[in-house]
């Protein structure tokens, strides 16, 4: 597995763990729990980062694991 993929999986997993922590469920921002906002952020950034990472590797001609 490419190291970029490995790091991506680690960061996403850590983010998900933080989102499911008890404090994220009790704190509310703008009427919605922080957990909800973190899930929404995950839905925006996770795909965007994965796509950018893949396109960068494609442009570099790195087909080792893409």
């Amino acid at each position: 597995m490419a190291s970029a993929d490995r790091w991506y999986l680690i960061v996403i997993t850590l983010f998900a763990i933080i989102a499911f922590m008890p404090w994220a469920r009790t704190v509310e921002v703008g009427g919605m729990s922080m957990f909800g906002w973190l899930m929404a952020l995950l839905m925006v950034f996770s795909p965007a980062i994965a796509l950018v990472q893949l396109l960068i590797r494609k442009n570099r001609g790195d087909h080792s694991d893409a």
Binding site: M1, D5, Y8, L9, I12, A16, F20, R25, T26, E28, G30, G31, M32, S33, F35, G36, M39, A40, L42, M43, V44, S46, P47, A48, A50, L51, L54, L55, K58, H63, D65, A66
Partner: protein, 475 residues
């Protein structure tokens, strides 16, 4: 109703025409029927993946779930699905595309060579996908009932006949062509509706603040136990890399890189659509219709009372498109599970490819008919209903697929044990009243992983030629 009905009839007729056109190419060959000749380009494949996942559940169900159980609960499901895409892209897309067969069962039967695999895996797929199809048919039925005034059972029957017809005659090629149209239609309607609402009510943060001031439960986590939130997240994160109708899309890609790229593009489009639905349309719906009996009706009520007939017609077409784009892929995956995975070896020896494809057509009709009968008595909250069914697939298949690709010590004993014990523990917990709803995956998945480790340790190591083939899949 005339304009709406005309639009929907034109749309359905178009889908059948596409199926008929595609049938000329696909019925002659196994490769053409199941994986569209393996020559689908990246953007088309991405749109088809997005449309296959964005089901009636993703339009009717997602909004019903958010309305009934709150936005955070719903986002935990869809964030799980979004995480599932990079998991699929990183863990399975390249090696499975290099494997070059038709189905997830093909890979598992090759990696864990035992006749039981060709019975167990199709069984899990057919059971869970039939439940999934029933939920889709409910979405089609209530949409046509609410917005077109067609009685529920007639609407279910009509939609079932149309999509069974074009799947059965057009195979994967028809599904791909129609999925692109259906995906585009869904995007236009959901994003268009959300933008129109934002023009009236301001940014999503304002809309959510206003809605949660009137209905605080919409933004809270308190509604369900933590196990249910985590369970929903994990079910979908683990499902995407192994769910057959998405994996079959990996096999249709031109090359491994195209397979990965199309998964990632699909994920971006899917996220935008779901967030627009949950964070804009649902809060507006909650303000306008705070006491709906059936939460799954929220989008339909919004369309019915706040938009003109032309937009309503497009909305019906979009919902039916969402239902069809998923149901067609599910029907094809069910059909492949029976005729290719379960009966494939027998059929290959005894009948020609053309006859085999005729049998596929018959199986599509049988599965569609059975699901239609169940859909006449529909479940509440369809997204929860089909998520529970998909959880069984995640619990039974995620570990054997991923370990089969990435863990050299995984062997036949471990593979079969992880399928049986993962799915078995999931079912026991799911039907036990003492566990939170949808939390069964939190027991099924670890049980599957633990079984893989323990039974692989007890069994014989993988054969050397199998090991070298698996290594070649990663190159």
């Amino acid at each position: 109703m005339t304009l709406e009905r005309t639009l929907v009839i034109l749309y359905l007729f178009g889908c059948v025409i596409i199926g008929a056109l595609a049938s000329k190419r696909v019925l002659a060959s196994r490769d053409e029927y199941w994986v569209a000749g393996r020559r689908i380009g990246t953007w088309v494949n991405a749109m088809a993946i997005m449309a296959a996942l964005a089901s009636g559940g993703s339009i009717i169900g997602v909004m019903g779930l958010a309305y009934g159980r709150g936005i955070p609960y719903t986002l935990s499901l869809f964030a799980g699905a979004v995480i599932g895409f990079p998991l699929a892209s990183i863990l399975v897309a390249k090696p499975l595309r290099n494997f070059g067969k038709f189905t997830i069962t093909d890979f598992l039967a090759f990696r864990y060579p035992h006749p039981a695999v060709r019975i167990l895996v199709p069984f899990l797929i057919v059971v869970s996908f039939t439940v999934y199809i029933v939920a889709q048919m409910k979405a089609a039925g209530i949409t046509a009932e609410t917005l077109l005034g067609i009685p529920y059972q007639q609407a279910v029957t009509l939609s079932a006949v149309v999509f069974v017809l074009y799947v059965s005659i057009g195979g994967m090629l028809a599904i791909t062509w129609t999925d692109v149209i259906q995906g585009t239609l869904m995007l236009i309607v959901i994003l268009g509706t959300a933008l129109a609402m934002m023009a009236q009510n301001g940014a999503p943060t304002n809309i959510i603040a206003e809605a949660t001031a009137k209905a605080p439960e919409l933004g809270q986590v308190a509604n369900e136990p933590l196990g249910s939130y985590l369970g929903l997240f994990v079910i979908w994160a683990a499902a995407i890399p192994v769910i057959p109708h998405i994996v079959m899309r990996v096999f249709t890609a031109k090359d491994p890189q195209g397979a990965r790229l199309s998964l990632n593009i699909a994920m971006v489009v899917y996220s935008i659509m779901i967030l627009a639905a949950v964070m804009v349309i649902v809060p507006v719906g909650k303000i306008a219709f705070p006491n709906l009996q059936d939460a799954d009706q929220v989008f339909l009520e919004v369309m019915k009372y706040q938009f003109p007939p032309l937009i309503r017609g497009l909305a019906v077409a979009a919902v039916i498109a969402a239902v069809m784009s998923t149901t067609d892929a599910l029907l094809l995956a069910c059909s492949s599970a029976i005729s290719h995975d379960l009966l494939g070896n027998y059929l290959k020896k005894h009948v020609s490819e053309k006859v085999e494809n005729r049998i596929n057509v018959a199986i599509v009709w049988v599965v569609g008919g059975v699901a239609m009968l169940f859909a006449y008595s529909p479940p509440k909250l369809i997204t929860e209903f089909y998520s529970a069914a998909i959880g069984m697939l995640s619990a039974g298949l995620f570990v054997p697929v991923v370990a089969g690709l990435w863990w050299k010590k995984a062997n036949l004993t471990g593979g079969i044990a992880s399928i049986v014990i993962g799915a078995g523990v999931y079912l026991v917990v799911q039907f036990s009243p003492s566990f939170p709803p949808l939390s069964a995956i939190l027991y099924g998945l670890p049980a599957s992983a633990l079984s893989m480790v323990i039974f692989s340790w007890l069994g014989s190591p993988m054969a050397e030629d199998l090991k070298s083939t698996i290594e070649r899949l990663h190159r």
